[in-house]
Each structure stands twice: as C-alpha cells, then as structure tokens.
C-alpha cells in the first residue's frame, strides 16, 4: 500500500490551471525527485500534499489521511508529513535548539527537557551539535537549512517534503545539505523532493517524476529515465539542465 497516493488532482489559481490531473503513488522508503520547468506545477503539488494549498478535484491520501476533505485533521496530517522550504524559514527570534524544540513542546506537549534531548539528537544528525544555541542570523545558509531539516525531523515524520531546498544556497553550501538528505534516504526516510539537482535525483532518487504543463509527463527509475528519456520535452529539459 502506498504511503502517499495522489489521484487525478486538479488545482487552479483563478483561470490558471496549474495541476491538470496529477496521479502519483509513493511507497514507504521511496525517494521521489520531482523535476520540471518553473511553472510546471511541481511546488504546488508538493504544497497540496500537506494541505498548504487546497485543490479543486481529485484526492490525496497521505498516511491514511484524506488531505482535501472539509473536516480533514490537518494537525494530525502534518504531524506525519514534514516540510522543508527553499527559504529555510527558521524562526529568527529562537535559537537553533529552540526552533527544533518548538513544535514538539507546543504540538506534542513534550516537556522542555525532553524536547531538548531530541533537539540535541537531531541537530547532531545534521552535524550541528555545536550550534544548538546559535541564532539563525549567526548561521550560514547551509547551516540554517540543516537546522530546518532537524526541526522537521524532531516531529518524527513519516514523509518529508523538500521544496527546492538547495535553490537559495550558494553553490559551495549545496553539498552539505544534500549529504544530510542522502543520509536520511539511506536510513529509509520517505522523501519527496522538488529539485533542480539532477545528479542528486539520479544518484539518490528511487523514482523520478518529470512534470510538464501541470501533468506528470514522464516517470520511472531515475537512472533509466535520464539515460533514455522517452518524451522530447524531457529530452530537451535534460539537455538544457544536465
């Protein structure tokens, strides 16, 4: 059974239909790389999965919870579906550790002491043990993004959505973030990434999804798809970015 099941999802912003019937199945442990031109609907699709965007028709079921329903328990959904953003979005008035501790204490009612132990653990995982008490403004972009990943991990999600998480980083900082994501993938975390890192998609991904004009245009095993793209659109896209 798939962990995330997307069925014929349609989404419009006003007259502009950005998702034109997207279907996708994601199993536990999958590392799905969603690629495509800007405006192809990949970020919107990702944001639909944890309910940051609504959609007009179709269905998304994540970890057994129907996302689009009127009575959907978004809190329950989001406890199991983490998200990391392009712009990091760390809370600037809180230290790295406090950023990580916030949701466990507020949402899961965990004690501060216990939350700090978890924070130490997840920050160690992303290689930032010594930055626990640093404020976001004292961290590099790569470090901030790793804290953001740790913050999401502290909720013990079953799926993590990564929305172009290296796109706002200086080139030399991209790898430190990708290494963390790769480690998560090796540990069996289910990941859905919207990304422009083609090599990463090929080497770490278990599934590649090429979106074009609001549809899944081509999907398959990354190495095979990259080696022999079937559609001219993907051939052209790979030629341009690869």
């Amino acid at each position: 059974m798939s962990l995330v099941s997307i069925r014929d999802v349609r989404k419009s912003f006003g007259q502009n239909e950005v998702l034109k019937g997207v279907s996708l199945d994601i199993a536990k442990g999958d590392v799905v790389a969603i690629i495509g031109r800007s405006g192809s609907g990949k970020s919107t699709l990702l944001r639909c999965i944890n309910g940051l965007e609504t959609y007009q028709s179709g269905s998304i079921v994540a970890d057994g919870i129907e996302v689009g329903g009127a009575a959907t328990n978004l809190r329950e959904l989001r406890r199991h579906v983490g998200m990391v953003f392009q712009q990091f979005n760390l809370f600037p008035h809180l230290t790295a550790a406090e950023n990580v501790m916030l949701a466990p204490t507020v949402v899961n009612k965990v004690s501060k002491a216990e939350a700090r132990i978890t924070a130490a653990e997840v920050l160690a995982k992303v290689g930032l043990s010594e930055k626990m008490d640093a404020y976001p403004s004292e961290l590099s972009g790569g470090q901030q993004q790793r804290v953001a990943i740790a913050r999401s991990l502290a909720m013990r999600p079953k799926v993590m959505l990564c929305d172009e998480i290296t796109s706002a980083l200086d080139p030399e900082l991209v790898n430190e973030v990708l290494r963390v994501v790769e480690q998560l993938a090796r540990e069996g975390m289910t990941l859905i990434l919207v990304t422009h890192e083609m090599r990463f998609a090929r080497d770490v991904g278990t599934k590649l999804v090429f979106m074009h004009h609001g549809k899944v245009h081509e999907e398959g095993v990354p190495k095979e798809v990259f080696a022999a793209p079937r559609t001219p659109e993907l051939q052209q896209f790979v030629g341009q970015v690869g």
Partner: protein, 220 residues
C-alpha cells in the same frame, strides 16, 4: 515687560499637583497595558480571524482613528448615560484611553504581523501547529520587535493626549494645574511647571520603554 516668577505660591498645592501626576502616570500605565492588549487582539482578529470579525474590528479602528479624542471622551462620559450607562470621570477616562490606544495599536501591530514573512507562518503550520499557536509562538514576537518603536511613540502620544481627560474633571495632572491656577492665578508658573512635568514624563516613558524593549527582545 517684567514678570516676577513666584513659584513659592504653588507650594501650598503640592499635594494636588502630586496627585494629578500620579493619576496621569497610573492612567498611562493602565491604558498602555490594556490598550496594547486590545490592539493585539484586534490585530490578530484582522489578520488571523474570520472575515466578519476582521470587518467589525476595521469599523472600530476607523471610527476611533477618524474622530477627535475629546469627542470620544465626551461621548463616553456625557453621551452614554442616555443609554443608562453612567460612568465616573475616572472610569470614563480610563475607558476612553484604552479604546483610543486600542484602535491605534491595532493598526500598528497589524502592520508588524503583516511584515512577518509568510514562509515563517507556513513553516509553523507545516510543523502541525494551529494558526493560533503560530501566531503566538512565531508571529507576535517578530511583529512586536518590528513595530516596537512605532508603538512606543504612540504610547507617548496617548500619554500626552491624556491631558484631555481633565475636561471631564478626571483628576489628572492638567486638571490639577487648572485647579491651582483658578485659585492662585499663577497661570504662568503652574502651566510652566506642568509642561516641564509632561516633558519629563515623556522622556522617562521613552527610556523606560527602551529599557523594557531591551529586556523583552534581548535575543540577537
């Protein structure tokens, strides 16, 4: 032109003036705390609340910001008794101040909330917090940090504007000055002294607020 300053003639009235000073200080502190609380609730309603509530708050804000404070005060003190709501001068003064600062601070705090990057709110929601939890733990601290100087200025404006409550005989510093002047006719001395007292109060308030800000926003 020669005028002989006679501050000594104010001495017999020192307790009246002191009472007025304390009244003004208490009035300012209470209306600041309550007014900012009203403003926070109003701003939260306008940004995070349901549309109908936001519209009610908008009407309140526009009504208060586009009418003179003295008219608001008179309406509460002289007008409301017609509806059977009779308030003492002191209660009316406090109420008018809170309602007035509440409206201005709603707008100021709302600006702060809207200046918080939308991504921070989405990050909070993605961590399974409700929007009210996001407001409380993520948004408000950042919002207040941004608008603290503007809010401080508004508090001082309201403190100085509180002189108007003397018009309904609430016994503030200006009321005390009027009282003394009407008895010893030392208008020049009394109003000079009271002007200096307001000046000192304003400067004191400003530094107190600055110090408070440093404590609250000590991070970074």
């Amino acid at each position: 032109m020669s005028y002989k300053l006679q501050f000594a003639e104010l001495l017999p009235y020192w307790s009246v003036l002191l009472y007025g000073l304390v009244f003004t200080i208490v009035l300012t502190i209470v209306s600041t705390v309550a007014g900012v609380a009203v403003g926070t609730a109003g701003a939260a309603a306008r940004t995070f609340g349901p549309g109908w509530l936001g519209r009610i708050v908008a009407v309140y804000v526009e009504l208060i910001r586009n009418t003179p404070f003295i008219v608001q005060l008179f309406f509460i003190f002289f007008g409301l008794p017609a509806l059977g709501l009779k308030l003492s001068e002191t209660t009316a003064a406090f109420l008018a101040m809170v309602i007035n600062l509440g409206a201005y601070s709603t707008e100021i705090i709302r600006a702060g909330i809207e200046a918080v990057p939308k991504g921070h709110i989405e990050a909070g929601l993605s961590l399974a917090m409700t929007k009210w939890e996001v407001l409380r733990h993520v948004v408000l601290n950042q919002a207040f940090r941004k608008i603290y100087p503007a809010l401080s200025s508004q508090i001082i404006i309201v403190m100085l504007g509180s002189a108007v409550v003397s018009q309904i005989s609430a016994e503030d510093l200006t009321y005390a000055a009027n009282y003394v002047a009407s008895r010893n006719f030392r208008n020049f001395e009394v109003y000079l002294l009271v002007a200096l007292a307001y000046l000192a109060l304003a400067m004191l308030t400003r530094s107190a607020l600055r110090a408070l800000g440093r404590v609250i926003f000590k991070a970074r």
